[in-house]
Amino acid sequence: MASSSLSRGLLGYRVNAVGLVASAVILFWLFIALFGGQFTPYPPGEIVDFDYFGPMSGQYWLGTDYLGRDMLSRILMGARYTVGISVAAVLISCFLGVVLGMMAAVIGGWLDTCLSRFLDALNSIPSKLFGLVVVAGIGSSIPVLIGVLAVIYTPGAYRFARALAVNISTMDFVTVARARGERTPYLITQEVLPNILGPVLTDMGLRFVFIVLLLSGLSFLGLGVQPPNADWGSLVRENIGGLSFGAPAVIMPSIAIATLTIAVNLLIDNLPVRIRDRSE
């Protein structure tokens, strides 16, 4: 019947060790994404070694890839794309999905029916077909890539958020707010959202992982990141042949992906909590 806690306070927030480590990892990758380009020992497209799938060495810290390019430089450059695109796409898709889902649940009626049918229909279109049509229709660039990812992942976020919000929106406290005359924006942000935030964030964490991985699939369609740069998923994919030699070229980007995605999910599970009663 006792409870203990490893946590400690920080600027009015309670954080725990796991959350701290996770945020450190995320900050590290964010830093690399922003400034990593400055530290690349070689241009990411230059073939520096006639050998391929080279081991880690003093000269090539993370070995070389299938063409003999420096892996460290490629990972440093790839961070920009992986982190940037995934973060943007996950934020857009979750924002859209969650906001629309909550609106559908709170407003209900025709809006709910139409939105649900439309997004269900969208969700059932195979993403490859969708990607191809988009490339053909509006061409390829990083914003288009982000848009495609967002469109692919919005219906899922919507369905999930709506299911949660429907339960909340029938609760008395929402009725109280309605009786007070509150408008939909307040209802969804202040009354519904705080009560579904936990599962929604969990869902967002998973979605982030899926998006990081889908990136490499879409680059096959020519969407987005153009050579010589590549996102981490594509780095794993283009060097997959090195797996049988245990080449760092395939293992290192995998580790980069894993550290980033696990850190994001751990941080979501261990978010800092605002300490409500301070001095009193």
């Binding site: 050579p227 997959i240 049988s244």
Partner: protein
């Protein structure tokens, strides 16, 4: 590490599972429509051609007993006797007429319609003799007839859900995009029948999956593996690599009727900026021969050995680009998985450009639709050309002013004239002379940069024997089924 086939006596029997690299529901048993390597391999197993090109590039008779002509315009084909189709019907001249004539029918959708156009008239003189009259003389006809599309099918065939041919195997199972199984044809007309009891062929498009399937023993033959997988196969004791360098190449094309290819100097600069050695060593892991921007491969008797490949000379390229007023301007270069190794080549090219202040923006595009949407269309793009048996076919397909696949929109009246002249020339020495000059013209004038000829590497289990390299491509020019045997 090419394999020299040891002089061993072939053993009969066994079931061979072999995997190619491309498959789709468009898989077909109709030789006219065959367009993928898997189609070729299947057609070779089930059908025969009139002639066959051997590993040294010489022509051997297959269904034909002889092919002769006095003026290279009217050809008489005598057929072997006693050849039967799988359904029991005997091979007659009418079958040959039907098989060749159908390429001219647009409804068939033949892939070699443009080559077949030179057949002015095809008629049966008697059940064993066919006469082919050409629009204009062409000394290469026996070689042309060795192309995979000119397989002989039974007169009147329209249903290709199974294959009724004369080949060494009888089609048992055919599921497009999935697999096919053929059983040995016990009535095969050649004295040496197929060695294998049965031959199963399917495609594993994923390169590492194909290699892994071979290494795990699921298949005994993996066609065309990527250079990067070579090391893995080499490290295993029981597997053998078979390397053939045919005329397959991936080239960088600049259309000379569009910017920037229309600016004098761009094309030449582009050729000087291609680091052929690096492409050969890094992108292709040495499994390639350096080429000199023209399509006739070294193993062809008509190859111009005098024509040396251009040196990698960035400085010279720089001054050429500068003269063209293009230095520093962004130039999009379209590449795709669809054209083998083109992305790697593009990157090497881009990097070389970056060092002299040229900005090449690589546009990676989907392999779906690449050939219809980007190839031949984009101002600067990559292409990938499969081996063709004769310089005539190569030039008329790719460089003649009216060539359907004129990748750089190269136009030269002189070239066109020489092409016709060489075609009708029965004197081989004179032909070689003309072709030599044409190769120089293409190398210097056309907007196609051909850095290397890419070798084809087939990998197979050590107990698979009988494989010989062939200029028409890997898998013995796709005709391996008939010749392979399994060590007991």
């Amino acid at each position: 590490r090419a394999t020299a086939a040891l002089a061993q006596t072939p053993v009969s029997g066994g079931h061979l599972k072999a995997a190619g690299w491309s498959a789709s529901t468009a898989d077909t048993l109709d030789p006219a429509k065959a367009s993928l390597s898997t189609d070729y391999t299947r057609c070779c197993a089930y059908y025969n051609r009139l002639t066959f090109m051997k590993e040294d590039g010489s022509i051997e008779m297959e269904l034909a007993d002889s092919i002769e002509s006095g003026d290279a315009a009217v050809w008489t084909v005598k057929l072997k006797s006693g050849v039967t189709f799988h359904d029991g019907k005997t091979l007659e001249a009418e079958d040959v007429v039907f098989s060749l004539q159908r390429h001219l029918d647009p409804a068939v959708g033949s892939k070699v319609n443009s080559i077949a156009k030179q057949f002015k008239e095809i008629k049966a003189l008697d059940p064993q003799t066919v006469q082919i009259t050409l629009e204009s003389p062409n000394a290469d006809l026996p070689t042309i007839l060795a192309m995979h599309h000119f397989m002989i099918i039974a007169n009147g065939t329209t249903d290709f859900s199974t294959a009724n041919g004369t080949g060494a195997f009888v089609s048992e199972v055919f599921e497009p995009g999935v697999r096919s199984i053929g059983k040995r044809n016990e009535n095969y007309f050649k004295p040496q029948k197929a060695h294998l009891d049965s031959f199963e062929y399917f495609a594993i498009p994923d390169d590492s999956a194909r290699v892994n399937a071979l290494l795990s023993g699921d298949i005994q033959f993996a066609a065309s593996i990527k250079p990067q997988s070579v090391r893995l196969v080499e490290s295993q004791p029981d597997f053998v690599l078979s390397i053939t360098t045919g005329g397959n190449y991936t080239n960088l094309n600049a259309r000379m009727d569009l910017a920037p290819g229309d600016k004098a100097g761009f094309v030449e600069g582009m050729k000087y900026l291609m680091n052929r050695e690096l492409i050969q060593k890094s992108a292709l892991r040495g499994l390639a021969e350096i080429a000199n921007d023209q399509p006739v491969p070294p193993m062809s008797p008509f190859h111009n050995a005098e024509l040396k490949p251009r040196e990698f000379d960035p400085e010279r390229a720089k001054s050429l680009f500068e003269k063209a007023g293009l230095l520093g301007q962004p130039i999009p270069v379209v590449a795709s998985e669809a054209a083998a190794s083109s992305l790697d080549m593009a990157m090497i090219f881009q990097q070389a450009g970056a060092e002299i202040g040229m900005r090449f923006d690589i546009q990676r595009v989907p392999s779906d639709g690449y050939w219809s949407n980007y190839w031949l269309k984009a101002p600067v793009h990559f292409g990938n050309i499969n081996p063709r048996p004769t310089p005539d076919i190569l030039f008329s397909l790719l460089y003649a002013s009216d060539a359907p696949w004129n990748e750089s929109q190269y136009k030269s009246e002189k070239f066109d004239r020489m092409l016709v002249e060489a075609r009708g020339e029965l004197d081989t020495a004179r032909r070689k002379e003309i072709y030599d000059e044409m190769q120089v013209m293409v190398s210097n004038e056309a907007g196609t940069g051909i850095p290397v000829y890419i070798s084809n590497v087939d990998a197979h289990a050590g107990k698979v024997k009988g494989l010989l390299p062939n200029p028409l491509g890997g898998q013995m020019g796709y005709a391996m089924a008939e010749y392979l045997w399994l060590e007991a």
